[in-house]
Symmetry: D2
Subunit: 342 residues, 4 copies
């Protein structure tokens, strides 16, 4: 562990409060000095609960503060790119929640500034730090299943977000499946070249009226020939469902869904277990802590961050490719979205 | 149970011998009178082992025999349609191994004769009778998962067949995935309208040279909006892998792969289980017995057979649609293969 | 496989019919010539169903028949020893259902005759041939868990037998736990020197009035220092429960209970599976077939039988020791039951 | 949540540091003011790491401090009773690690003081707060398995403690199985009346030379007739093994052992999982947090504590009864240890 670091958090919504809690209580070697939110009350409440000394309405208080080593960007998506650029220019390291931006051009500009000013930037793909998926990736990368051939990811939410949120979310492929696109690249260790997306409105007709789908299956073709599928549903009545499987020339690795206990009840009516963790906060608490801990480590020790800005861009490109494929009902190459990606 | 029935078996290869064994030892109410094979030795050996009194080179001995109530067609695929038509004309009920034929026109003609002469005909989709898949179908059809939204089928063989076999097999979609197409229709309880197929040569380059793929993923769109995926590999080093999952508005039903025991060994190196059943004979013995038992029941009691000739046709149409999709790299509607299917 | 063997079955009750079915349909190399039962109708019905040519009231028809190579004794327990002695004297090999007798002296006499006339004798401990327990024993005997330290056996029936049966059964330790005593010796590969038994009447007060218990836990101390426990209940509402675990210096091996499928249903109310196999016929069909097949093999090839008469005796001695321990509320050495056993 | 509470921690060994960490970071509504340890360095180190303002050598600094509402006693076992009495007299609530004392008379005196001065006292049986065992207890107490009949607890450590520790530990029944005795009472919801213990030296002969055993099985007879077994080993090479099962008239509830992930690796050699959590810190972190959180809640809101001093006494009585039973090779009633317990 290197020197103690000073942090500023931008955004005191659900995910901002979660990072505030973890950085103040669960990650050693960090002092959170300031949290900002456009709703000052939110920043003040979070500061009070977690013992952060300063709450601000304006994030520039953080950007201007020379004591602050890194920022954690948890504000609304449309502000991410601007904050990244600003932080880079003032020499602060950056942890930014997904997505960097919905516009590829904006992402490129933000990443250029990060590059130019030589700060570290890490994207918020927390699932990579889950004990299941991290272990799977390790086994695959060690060659324990030989050359990967097939990938399957199942990712289902317990309930759809409010329809107002869905309308501005960018759609299921950019809002929800973006995590699975990152997981796919993480597990296979190679880049996707083409996607084919199928979507349906099965959960709520209002989602269809909003121009989105709530049930989707995407087939991914990787450069190394791996064929992957991702299935998403906005509503699994039994709770959050997060599983993956990688099959290769030498075997298969897969992970079960997680629940709080492994208790079985056998009665005359059958054998039953409790439901899985309800949603991402319950399921991924440890992953969120490990994620930010590794970011802090990388900053403290000046080592590479485990999730890069480019990882963040790829996930968005995949989201757009899937969106286009679903609309045009044909396979779409990533180079159609970003000609720079062959 | 109705009257005792007399059976003739056409073909004494692996699957013919399997049915001979089951019909003589495991299914009550049946007498197998004759088995035929173009290689007389094969028929004689099987007859001796199972106690079937007559072995013939020529299947017409079976067709001409007025005592014989039904035929079990296990000869090579290219002879199925002709035998079906012949059996129908002489009023014998028919159990025919998959596929009925690779040519849709031939299938239609065969099914017309079956219709015209009013005999029963059942296709050999044994997996429907597996205790796992039968239970899943029951739960889905009872509405226990609400309206189906998503389907996943994993089906992997332990090792590819000889390359000479692959060359004449019709390709992975018609030879191997045909079982999964039937399973998809069986589990969802609706018809597919479109398929999108991705294939790769990952197991053996010789398979690629033969114009086939050995690794494949197909996305199915059903008329009711269900989106399904099937993944196939010709080689899973850990053995036969047969699993399925149906997800719906009210829940999910899935089945694990099967092995001979549920023993765990925990040592300092990890916790391990034995491999699953090696291949279809080990995994599906009980399903094969149940399949032919239900056919015999249907004939004896003059009730409908559980798998129809039309089921057999659909699976072949799906195989051709997937083949076309894989070659043309685009989604293919079933009506492109058979305009009669909307 | 050696020469074809001719068999006679004594007793056409449930277990006799089961062996008749297996010997006629599932075990190659055997012809069952005669089945006898003191209720001639029972013998005749079984003969008709399985195609056995002769049904007799008197077992001496079997004993006198020089063509018959071996007898399968499935009659009532009190007749076992006499039939064993008679069969031994006429040079027939013997498969005898458990227990050989309830009286140790009778067992010793029967085993002496078997020894004297040099016939093979195998006891009916079918569970040794179950794919789970056979695999566990193999792993233990191969040293995969090092030196065994602890053993646990759980064995619960779905429902108690009729109270009239219980009254003449010899009690839970001799009627039900006898199988588990054999399993304990089989899995550990050593002899028990002492037992301590606890019993309770929890299922049905009528069982208590009959002088028996319906819930029991026995601690076994083996000569090699392994400590084992067996728990029995006459009534598990969720069905037959058959599990075991052996723990040692190098690890642990255990087996789960078995059910017909591995299907899971996840709904808003929980995740559920179907119940296990209902009772021994459902659970152990394959084990019964394998048991009698191995006996036939041993006779045909003149090799040792896998379960000996002495195995049969040990199980009864353990049953008596546990009965005594439960009554006298203290640990009981096996040598208190049979001074020959140190 | 009531008012903020002030805490003092006595003892800065492994378990003291663990509680210090949880009380400062993971439990809201508490300020830890002072930590003491007879080794002042240990107290100072812990204070520095967790931000506790005062570190003392002498626990009287805590006892005298009127600001302190409750003490957490984590010192060596022989000091527990004295600290309890002292804390009671100065009106501080008490959380005390197990065991209260090894001497029953001392326990009684300590509990009398607690009673007399009306402070709350909770014993440290952390496993009751594990998500598995808590859920099992809930299901049993709700009657979901009907009337309990049988109980099984498996509890095995990954490696024995140093032999010097074992010599002063009180022996396996008072040091290790004491947790399982409490679990047995917790799960069954009734009191034990008699125990029968079997022990063996299988792990390390040095343990035997120290007069202790390292492998033990205890049978418990409850007042309500439930028969329970507990098995302990000081060394499970595959890691910490913590499982339980309760069987009753209406069904069974059981829990599997826990591991960090649910990843499976299938290769040609078998299907494997990672080892379980290594030991109690890894396995029971969440349980420790929940335990102390519930204690703090009870103090803050003046509600009953979930584990009482009497619970602490019962576990010690059971430990002595098992020790006596193992030595005298006979079942021992609890009233032989404490005539007050019938």
């Amino acid at each position: 562990m290197g020197k103690e670091l000073t942090a500023g958090i931008i955004g005191a919504g659900r995910i901002g409060r979660l990072h505030a809690d973890h950085l103040t209580r669960r990650v050693p070697g960090v002092r959170v000095k300031t949290i900002s939110d456009v709703i000052l009350d939110a920043a003040q409440n979070c500061a009070r609960e977690t013992g952060i000394p300063n709450a601000e309405e304006d994030a520039s208080r953080i950007m201007e503060d020379e004591e602050i080593d890194f920022v954690v960007i948890c504000s609304s998506t449309d502000t991410h790119a601007a904050f990244i650029k600003e932080a880079a220019r003032v020499g602060k390291h950056i942890f930014c929640e997904k997505p960097i931006a919905l516009d590829i051009g904006e992402i490129d500009q933000a990443l250029e500034e990060v590059e130019k000013y030589g700060v570290k930037m890490m994207g918020g793909f927390n699932r990579r730090f889950d004990s299941n998926f991290a272990r799977m990736q390790q086994l695959v990368s060690e060659g324990r299943i030989g050359e990967p051939h097939l990938l399957k990811i199942t990712s289902r939410d317990p309930a759809p977000p409010p329809i107002e949120y869905i309308k501005v979310s960018g759609g299921i492929f950019l809002d929800m499946m973006i995590h699975d696109f990152d997981m796919a690249r993480f597990l296979v260790g190679d880049e996707v070249k083409e996607v084919y997306a199928n979507g349906a409105v099965k959960v709520d007709p209002e989602i269809g009226k909003a121009g989105d789908v709530d049930t989707a299956v995407v087939t991914l073709t990787f450069k190394n020939g791996v064929i992957g599928t991702i299935d998403n549903s906005r509503k699994a009545v039994y709770g959050y469902d997060q599983r993956a499987e990688v099959f290769g020339s030498g075997g298969m690795v897969d992970s079960e869904n997680m629940s709080e206990n492994r208790v079985h009840l056998a009665t005359g009516g059958g054998i039953s277990e409790d439901l899985p963790y309800y949603f991402f906060v319950e399921r991924y608490t440890d992953a969120y802590i490990e994620e930010i801990r590794q970011f802090v480590d990388a900053v403290a020790n000046d080592t590479p961050v485990p999730v890069t800005g480019l990882d963040g861009k790829y996930a968005v490109v995949l989201g757009w490719a899937a969106t286009k494929s679903c609309r045009e009902h044909r396979p779409v190459k990533l180079s159609e979205i970003d000609p720079g990606l062959e």
